[in-house]
Symmetry: C2
Amino acid sequence: MKIGILGLGLIGGSLGFDLKSQGHDVLGVSRRESTCKKAMEIGSVDQAATELSLLSAAEVVFICTPIGLIVPQVEQLISHLPKTSIITDVGSVKTPIVQGISHLWENFVGGHPMAGNTDIGIDAAQRNLFVDRPYVITPTESTPSHAISILEEIVCSLGSIIYHCSPEKHDRAVSWISHLPVMVSASLVATCLSESDPEIFQLAQKFASSGFRDTSRVGAGNPELGVMMAQYNRQALINSLYQYRHHLDEFIDMIETENWDLLTEKLKINQQNRPSFL
Amino acid sequence: MKIGILGLGLIGGSLGFDLKSQGHDVLGVSRRESTCKKAMEIGSVDQAATELSLLSAAEVVFICTPIGLIVPQVEQLISHLPKTSIITDVGSVKTPIVQGISHLWENFVGGHPMAGNTDIGIDAAQRNLFVDRPYVITPTESTPSHAISILEEIVCSLGSIIYHCSPEKHDRAVSWISHLPVMVSASLVATCLSESDPEIFQLAQKFASSGFRDTSRVGAGNPELGVMMAQYNRQALINSLYQYRHHLDEFIDMIETENWDLLTEKLKINQQNRPSFL
């Protein structure tokens, strides 16, 4: 199959490796000539160019740009594609993407491979990145079933675990376990940085150990990624944050009223149930 | 030197290993006969007994019981000790311990070795647990300097990094980087468990990855330990939680008002400054 990849970063470059190794003809497009050259050199794509016209022969195109560029790039891309081509994306938020593209292109299927790490760019691309990782597909009622089937076949070949849900349910689920933790953790780091007594601040820096390290990690990561989550999943994230503040207030109240039995019970429920998320 | 250890768990048992290997005569006391037997078998102590009278010959006694038992045990212990004996403890909160013991025993020096993990009991004891870890000593104005010197010498021999501060500053510092993260993380777990739509709840369980895993870890740990922190460091923790809620509200406000420039700036400050805690 001829498969196009628009955006040759960690996800696009890694997809290229796997699809090419399965014998597909992989066509890659990047804004930068140097990225195209690199993708060819490392064997992530068969052909690469900075022009969207390279993708006109593609039967399926994966949009792997940063989330804010997905809809604008599809708007430019579609004049180059036959109506039968299937477009999918890999954005980590789905509602605005699916809403933005569904009326532009019939054969569009939203997707979200939940793989990757903090590295970015074609240099971070790796083989088998998607093996045993969730790959969420978010079709709507009007998505053609053959487009879904073809995407599923490709995703299956990557070794991913496929999940189906609506874009809205996807965004609410990732708000709980991905976007809320970032803001909870960011607030923790900001709070610790606000200590005004220099002696206590320095002691806190010296005493910080694995508990602080783990709880603060995602709140001090890539700022652009944090802002992107908040921009594109704003309403679900706000709802999650309000729920979180309610539970935080409950913990504060238990400590203020010295309700140790209830605090013990709540912490036991956490201990018992967290493993179901791991 | 004859050194007593009251409480043969992870910390007490590990201290025994290191002190014995330096040639000290280590006397261990545990409430349980089986723990005494085990401590002798593994070579963590030279002698062990369930009676406090074993410690009457000790020049220095480390109190390594759970935090709630430290003051009550010292109250019982002192009738067995000569006035010259030095008592120290390893409790993770210092103000209530130092206040409780200072008027009972002149040669008392509060301490907090910041080592250990989630394992408990004599079976978890290990050699060199304290190497390169902070060991905080919290003397007061009335603590005899020779008692501080002798404790420093022992702590130095464990390979720890010694810090000195007041009990109150210790408790405020650990509130930021140890006790606040537990409550922040516990609130996150409780919030995610509260999702009432079963489909979204199940998706969240399936999609949870390293971000959720790390941010939720300490909030779903040992419930007794979490309650202990809240009980014994209650006021510092409440202050930290109020500060935290203020910063959380700022993040919520930035997202509600779509102030992406300010959100970017705050996340950049986090990214730049977190490494100073690691």
